[in-house]
């Protein structure tokens, strides 16, 4: 078993709940423009687009709603208002994801309390967390298998082995800053490269010693935060999509680059838009299933970047820059093995 499979089991359950239907309808009304067939009456697609690009699942919608004035002051078009019932739905969705994060990190936090914010993928946004009960939406015990699987993953085991005295050398805020800064550096290099000083860590980083333990612990923080973020993303997508977006023989034009490096694996794929992959934004999970020149790719990937291109002489195409995720939904899996 793996975190990925447990996560998809959970999504199967979510898809049967009435709560999912309500959220799905709401997100669709914030994604598509009104037309004769979809029953949408008001064009709020701009809101949806801003929220999707925020890359923080339901919280993105709440933040956009919260920051409406600042966004409009920046010269952006009018941000449509959400009804209080709609905000409540989104808040409940976010509460569910927060609950999953909290449950998953419970064991680690009981040993290293300051890691609560370090591992929480939402801690960087500074959005106030509200305690909203989620029991009326789902039977909360359904997340237990996922939590159990998360706790049995190798990285959690490695982190729990780290001496508390070493972890306590810095404050939680310092760790959050370091993790965000390192993640930003990794992301700046794109999906096919790694920061220069990471490249020879396999050889340079000693196997023991205080510095090595702390450095590795930082990488575990980055990986586990990434896994939790991806778990939230998979569950969020199960609310909004009936099917995971797929890049396969029916839309892929070419794989222009594919490689492995110290961070993980990167893919750049050019596709012809045609299905729900057209709406993919940074942070979304999709499936790549294609065989090219007898090479088979069958991987789940996180969208690092996507560029949609139209030219009147060449038509439509999209370029996806993707990070492959492993069985634990880790897109930085190389870092966990250093």
């Amino acid at each position: 078993m793996s975190i990925k499979s447990k996560c998809f089991e959970l999504t199967n359950y979510i898809e049967t709940t009435p709560f999912r239907e309500q959220i799905n309808y709401l997100i669709e009304s914030l994604t598509f423009r009104p037309n004769e067939s979809n029953g949408i009456t008001e064009d709020r697609s701009h809101f949806g687009s801003l929220a999707r690009n925020h890359g923080s699942q339901f919280m993105g919608y709440l933040i956009i709603d919260n920051n409406r004035k600042e966004i409009e002051q920046r010269g952006m078009p009018h941000v449509p208002h959400l009804a209080s019932s709609e905000l409540e739905l989104l808040s409940k969705g976010h509460a569910l994801l927060s609950q999953i994060v909290e449950k998953c990190t419970e064991k680690i936090v009981s040993k290293h309390p300051k890691l609560r914010t370090v591992l929480d993928p939402y801690s960087q946004f500074g959005y106030p967390s509200h305690l909203i009960p989620v029991q009326d939406m789902i039977d909360i015990s359904v997340i237990d298998p996922l939590v159990e699987e998360f706790n049995s993953c190798l990285l959690v085991g490695k982190l729990l082995e780290c001496p508390g005295s070493l972890i306590d050398q810095r404050t939680a805020e310092e760790y959050v800053q370091i993790v965000l800064s390192l993640t930003q550096r990794i992301n700046r290099c794109g999906v096919h490269d790694a920061p220069e000083d990471f490249k020879d860590l396999h050889f340079k980083l000693p196997t023991s010693g205080q510095h090595a333990i702390i450095t590795r612990a930082l990488f575990y923080f980055i990986c586990l935060r990434n896994i939790l973020c991806n778990i939230c993303q998979v569950i969020y997508q199960s609310f909004i999509n009936d099917k995971l977006p797929v890049l396969d023989k029916d839309n892929v034009i070419s794989i222009t680059e594919s490689n492995s490096h110290i961070i993980g694996e990167g893919l750049t794929i050019i596709s012809q838009p045609g299905g729900n992959e057209f709406f993919c934004a940074q942070g979304d999970l999709l499936l790549v299933k294609i065989s090219i020149n007898s090479r088979k790719v069958n991987d789940f990937c996180i969208v690092h970047g996507v560029t949609t291109n139209f030219h009147r002489d060449f038509g439509w195409k999209q370029e996806f820059r993707l990070r492959v995720v492993d069985e634990d939904l880790n897109s930085f899996f190389g870092l966990g093995n250093i």
Binding site: I253, R312, K317
Partner: protein
């Protein structure tokens, strides 16, 4: 099929020189052995040799003949060529007893385009036998009648002449423009090529294997041409004109079935109809040659020229296993001097960064 360029000052002569290689018994034996037909009879070898030699004679005679008999000579020559090469590639004597087609009697004054060809004799008819060897379209008998117009509209090299000649005619090939870009390539078709069709999607649904080999086509008002993107690992389903331009073949709807005979077979059917009328219906053919005021004669002359040039080339492609094109440029030189490699670009960038850092350092000291 890969492309192969061969230097030739006269493509027509060169392609025949290459084909005549297989008029020599030793070469025929070697070719048959290579293809696993090790017990070839003398009868088979001599039959192949004689057929190819006679084909060459007919083709040569056709060059200097007028339109009065040129179609007939070309039809005979092509029959010999397809028979010889067909036996060579299948390693057996393919029994042929008749043309495998019959022609509807032309009405006085009717257009050549209106001649009707009906495939018959599915076992020993020449058309069916050659179709089994040179085409993958399945049995043509039972497909009903074909007009010469359908045949003429299927030949890429005369497409413009065909469109100009027949105002009401639908083409059966679409010229494709291949656009190569750094990271991918695409294919495009001028929108004007769809002017004679009422429904673009129907055109694509009539192209055999189109959806297996291309992503859905892009055709909107905002896009200047119809954009086609081949699927990954797709096969090339196009045919190529002498100029090397790719064309997609629109199949023929016959008795509710989509049939796409190979271009060799369609050309052969066209030659049969023209050869038959010039031989057996001079009362129709002679006035056409003398009195044509429509310009159809020009089209027929070009069709015959294209058949003479293209059919041996297509047969040769099959023997060589590549799309042979005859070129006039010198061979054996690969000139990459204008291409800048990634490494060279990176080296230039490194030098520039180094210079700029040095300038910064000097400015600050």
């Amino acid at each position: 099929m890969d492309a192969k360029s061969i230097f030739a000052e006269s493509p027509e002569n060169e392609q025949w020189r290459m084909l005549l290689h297989y008029s020599y018994p030793n070469n025929i034996k070697r070719c048959l052995d290579k293809n696993g037909f090790t017990d070839a009879s003398i009868e088979l070898i001599e039959g192949i040799s004689g057929s190819i030699s006679q084909a060459k004679e007919y083709y040569d005679a056709c060059k200097s003949a007028s339109l009065q008999i040129a179609p007939l000579l070309l039809y005979y020559g092509t029959t010999n060529l397809l028979y010889g090469i067909g036996n060579l590639t299948t390693g057996q004597i393919n029994r042929i007893e008749d043309h495998g087609m019959k022609l509807g009697l032309p009405m006085p004054g009717c257009r050549v385009a209106d001649l009707e060809i009906t495939p018959i004799s599915p076992v020993t008819g020449a058309l069916s036998a050659f179709n089994r060897i040179f085409s993958a379209s399945g049995d043509l008998c039972g497909s009903g009648s074909w007009t010469a117009m359908e045949v003429l509209g299927s030949v890429p090299d005369i497409l413009d002449d065909y469109i100009n000649c027949y105002e009401d005619a639908l083409p059966f090939v679409l010229p494709v423009e291949i656009v190569k870009q750094r990271k991918e390539f695409l294919e495009r078709i001028e929108k004007s090529h769809f002017n004679r069709f009422s429904n673009v999607s129907e055109v694509f649904s009539n192209i055999e294997k189109f959806s297996n080999n291309y992503l859905p086509y892009q055709y909107t008002d905002q896009i200047s041409k119809v954009i086609l993107r081949p699927r990954v690992d797709s096969e090339d389903i196009g045919i190529y004109s002498m100029s090397g331009q790719k064309h997609l073949v629109i199949g023929h709807r016959k008795n509710g079935k989509l049939i796409s005979p190979s271009i060799i077979i369609l050309m052969y059917m066209g030659l049969y109809s023209l050869g038959f009328v010039c031989r057996y219906k001079p009362e129709y053919w002679n006035p056409f040659i003398r009195n044509d005021i429509s310009g159809e004669k020009l089209l027929i002359e070009k069709y015959l020229y294209i058949c003479r040039r293209v059919i041996p080339n297509l047969v040769l492609n099959r023997l060589v296993g590549a799309r042979v094109s005859f070129v006039g440029e010198p061979q054996g030189i690969l000139d990459y001097s204008d291409i800048t490699t990634r490494e060279e670009i990176e080296e230039i960038a490194r030098k520039e960064i180094r210079k700029s850092l040095e300038r910064e350092r000097m400015g600050s000291s």
